[in-house]
């Protein structure tokens, strides 16, 4: 049992790592969702060069592993003279990568959204950006909640990759503790439990939002 005491003594390391993971996840999820919505707005309308370019960016993000993007920002960019700290590189990588996925999720819901809603809004004199903000975005977000929840959990799990580019998050903390005291099993079990708790909370929040959405009439999922 005294191995658990060692873990308890090392609680500061875990707590610091956990906070860093939460911070990385929280900020990148928020920015990623905003980026996804922005990309969706920019992709509205007929295809042109710029929109094709955005589509290419989204496809690129969807076909590379997250770690390659993190490597590119952290190891690759300094060659071009841009030097980012590990935390900032990780945050930008998470935001760009998951922003593209969020946009893809929104786009798949946008395609199946009934045309009548938009036409009705236009008939009522809503301007272009207002149609998007008041009609399209709420509909798209509320009908894709389960997919957003999945993507948020993937985003949370991708923060663990950042320990490879030396970000001090919870997996790195567990690895540090196990290397110092040689208690690998319990150290990583604690880390896994922490991830599990966050992902259960995400699932719970998504379900709660789903119920809220249903009350407001977004039940045609």
């Amino acid at each position: 049992m005294n191995e658990w005491m060692t873990i308890w003594d090392a609680r500061d390391a875990f707590f610091g790592g956990f906070l860093n993971t939460l911070k990385l996840f929280g900020i990148s999820a928020l920015l990623g969702l905003l980026l996804g919505a922005l990309l969706l707005y920019l992709l509205e309308g007929p295809s042109n060069r710029a929109r094709q370019g955005l589509g290419l960016f989204i496809d690129a993000m969807r076909t590379i592993p997250f770690l390659i993007l993190a490597y590119l920002l952290y190891y690759g960019l300094p060659q071009g003279g841009v030097r980012l700290s590990a935390d900032v590189a990780g945050l930008i990588a998470l935001t760009l990568y998951h922003g593209a996925y969020f946009c893809e999720i929104f786009r798949s819901q946008r395609r199946v959204m009934p045309k009548g809603l938009i036409e009705a809004a236009q008939a009522h004199g809503f301007r272009h950006h207002l149609v998007f903000l008041r009609i399209i975005l709420p509909n798209v977000v509320m009908t894709s909640l389960p997919l957003i929840g999945n993507q948020l959990i993937i985003c949370l799990k991708d923060t663990a990759f950042l320990c490879i580019i030396t970000v001090k998050e919870v997996t790195a903390a567990a690895n540090g503790v196990q290397a110092t005291y040689f208690i690998p099993m319990k150290a990583f079990l604690v880390a896994i439990m922490l991830y599990w708790i966050i992902s259960l909370l995400i699932e719970y929040a998504i379900r709660w939002l789903g119920r809220l959405g249903k009350q407001r009439g977004f039940s045609h999922v």
Binding site: P65, F66, L72, L156, I192
Partner: protein
Amino acid sequence: MDLKAWLLLLEGAWTTLWISGIAIMLGVSAGLLIALVRRQAIPLVDQALALYISLARATPLVTLVLFLFLSLPSVGINLNKNVAAILALTLNTAAFNAEIWRSALNNFSRDQREAAQAIGMTDWTFFRRIMLPQLFTVSLPALVNEMSFLIKGSPAIAVIGLVDLTRVTNRIASVTYEPLYPILGAGLIYMVMIGVMVKAQASAENKARRLAM
């Protein structure tokens, strides 16, 4: 980047491919097995499997790989790096595959089972001849999607020192001091690999739709 660097990248790509390939085969079969066992709703076993699926879906691959590679030796199980990597990828993907198989099983029509029983088919023959081919067609798009997720997650195995397609870029950069090009090259190879999976998924979807299942 010279030819030697490209060859190293291809070698890394091969490592990624064979380890992911074995994990995919094991994970798809294990997923089906888990889904079938869960369908029997055996007390305790069912709850244990549900817990496993919930945990495995929430655990990052990096953490899982480190956990298995570093902690199993302390209970007397020594794994080499390759086995630890395959085990971690399999444990991860099997949980997702189990859910895919389970939803296909749940949506399977009862009429066909009754028809098979009426003409005297045994349960096993029914499963092998009637059920499995249809389950496979229905699940294939989602399974292929999960396979591309597995390949996108596979760089996690680099954390225990396996030189996969991502890790090999460090090796090349340590000689050339130009990390940008090998990383871009590796990204390109990943794009090709996962692009193929995406195409395969689309054609699997078309096939499932054509057979109207």
